[in-house]
């Protein structure tokens, strides 16, 4: 990328970090976030691919950041038969369709305060595409600032993308891993709503029940609803000080020890995984995507209420 500096993004008009807030610079990896202002100046950059990922499937088609591609979390990221993510072959095909090469920097954004953007980001990390960032504030901030949007679906020249085999070990936890964490009294974060955590509800408020037969939480899990990490007025992440207070001071999470986050199917917890990993710099965080729809349905697993 012309004029690039670490991590491969041009320093625009005096430097990338100069456009970020002082608080952003205090994040463990501040360049993992990009601002709406910065992205607005990079929309013509061929080395950047903007990807929108939403819960609401109508949103992208109704208007999106010019040039942005759409990644549908159900159709594009999940295996269509088994409960699992796409394979290496599927990821290579997706990246080819998006015209992305290993050198392309991807900027994710989406609705719901980047909840689904972080989920897509996490899946991309399973395949080691580390040239990835998240638009701080996501779709909400971009819209609130009155920045341009259009309905043109971009087409990209298919690329050749050779991905490694999906590597689940570092950032993905499975049921047996979580059971071991429980037995060893390790650190777990339940990012669902308080009523889901307590077992009063089996699903999010205003959402349908998707089949958990038992309510409650994994023994020993701390309750930190995912959305506490964002500023609701513009969807941006809270300051590093606020995040430290939330996770470390109030809940006593120790950055030096492994943390496993979970929710219902692993989407909300990918947002928390992102905040802990990149904004607070926890070195060992995994997302348990089986989450409550697996744990709350499994025979014999321990549950706390």
């Amino acid at each position: 990328m012309p004029g690039a500096s670490s991590p491969g993004l041009r320093l625009p008009g005096g430097g990338y970090t100069s456009r970020m807030s002082t608080q952003a610079a205090a994040y463990a990896k501040p360049d993992i976030l990009v601002s709406t202002e910065w992205l607005a100046g990079e929309l013509q950059n061929p080395n950047i691919r903007v990807i929108e990922s939403n819960e609401d499937t109508l949103l992208y088609a109704s208007g999106h950041i010019p040039g942005a591609a759409h990644v549908d979390w159900t159709a594009d990221l999940n295996d269509q038969v088994r409960r699992d993510y796409i394979s290496r072959d599927g990821f290579e095909k997706l990246m080819s369709r998006l015209g992305v090469t290993p050198d392309t920097t991807i900027v994710f954004y989406g609705d719901k305060n980047n909840w689904w953007a972080c989920y897509a980001f996490w899946v991309f990390q399973l395949f080691g595409h580390t040239k990835a960032k998240v638009l701080n504030g996501g779709r909400l901030k971009w819209e609130k600032e009155g920045r341009p949007m259009n309905r043109e679906t971009p087409t990209f020249t298919a690329s050749t993308y050779k991905a490694p085999e999906r590597n689940d070990k570092a950032i993905r936890a499975f049921r047996e891993d979580v059971l071991k964490v429980v037995q060893e009294k390790g650190q777990l974060v339940d990012v669902r709503s308080p009523d889901e955590y307590s077992g009063k509800r089996l699903h999010m408020p205003d959402y349908p029940n998707e089949g958990a037969v038992r309510g409650g939480h994994i023994p020993g899990a701390k309750s930190v609803p995912w959305a506490k990490a964002i500023n609701p007025e513009d969807g941006t992440f809270k300051t590093v000080g606020e995040l430290r207070k939330l996770y470390q001071e109030e809940q006593g999470l120790d950055p030096a020890k492994p943390v496993t986050a979970y929710c219902r199917i692993g989407e909300r917890s990918s947002h928390t995984w992102f905040a802990l990993t990149y904004l607070l710099g926890f070195p060992n965080v995994r997302n348990y995507d089986g989450s409550w729809t697996e744990w709350g349905n499994s025979v014999g697993l321990p549950i706390e209420k």
Binding site: D56, L58, S62, D206, P208, N209, E210
Partner: protein, 179 residues
């Protein structure tokens, strides 16, 4: 605040009604459902829904102005949708909506479809509408978080139509959280 135009009566909302499925729907709504049943392609359905969303017209100031009264707020709808029903001298009912969430594309689409197919009908006919139409209209374009709110919008319309007939609606729980 809510205002009733001359010769009209605004029906007060108070919740949502039950979700029984009727044997038939008013003709315009049935035609719309039949049309949507022909869409096999998700993208095609999405484009039609977005077209409806684009055609959405907010409640006129003759009926209500901001701040909208909370008793017209649709329960469990994250798009912050409001609904009003105004009785006309001919005994028909007009429906009006507001959707405060700028990302409320689905809510605006549904509001436009309900207005187009039900406004101007007698309350007795409007009261036949069931939340099950949401699944038939949106299919795979309905997201987890949107479905409940959209069904609640339909339930709120049904409530208003029942109230206009002097029928006290059943509790909302069947619509708010069908488990």
């Amino acid at each position: 605040m809510t205002r009733a135009p001359a010769g009209a009566e605004v029906i007060e909302n108070g919740g949502v009604s039950d979700s029984r499925t009727p044997t038939h729907y008013p003709e315009a709504l049935q035609d719309l459902l039949d049309t949507f049943a022909t869409f096999d392609d998700q993208a095609e359905r999405a484009q039609v829904l977005i077209s409806f969303s684009d055609s959405f017209k907010e409640v006129p100031k003759e009926v209500a102005t901001r701040p909208f009264p909370k008793d017209h707020l649709v329960p469990a709808c994250e798009s912050e949708a409001y609904v009003w029903a105004v009785m006309r001298p001919a005994g028909t009912m007009d429906l009006y909506f507001a959707v405060e969430n700028p990302s409320g594309i689905s809510a605006r689409a549904l509001a436009a479809m309900l207005t187009k197919t039900l406004s101007g009908l007698p309350p007795k006919e409007i009261a036949t509408v069931s939340p099950e139409i949401v699944e038939r209209l949106f299919r795979q374009n309905i997201s987890m978080g949107k479905g409940m709110g959209l069904m609640s919008m339909v339930g709120a319309v049904r409530t208003l139509a029942q109230r206009a007939q002097g029928i006290e609606p059943k509790p909302a729980s069947a619509i708010a959280c069908p488990e």
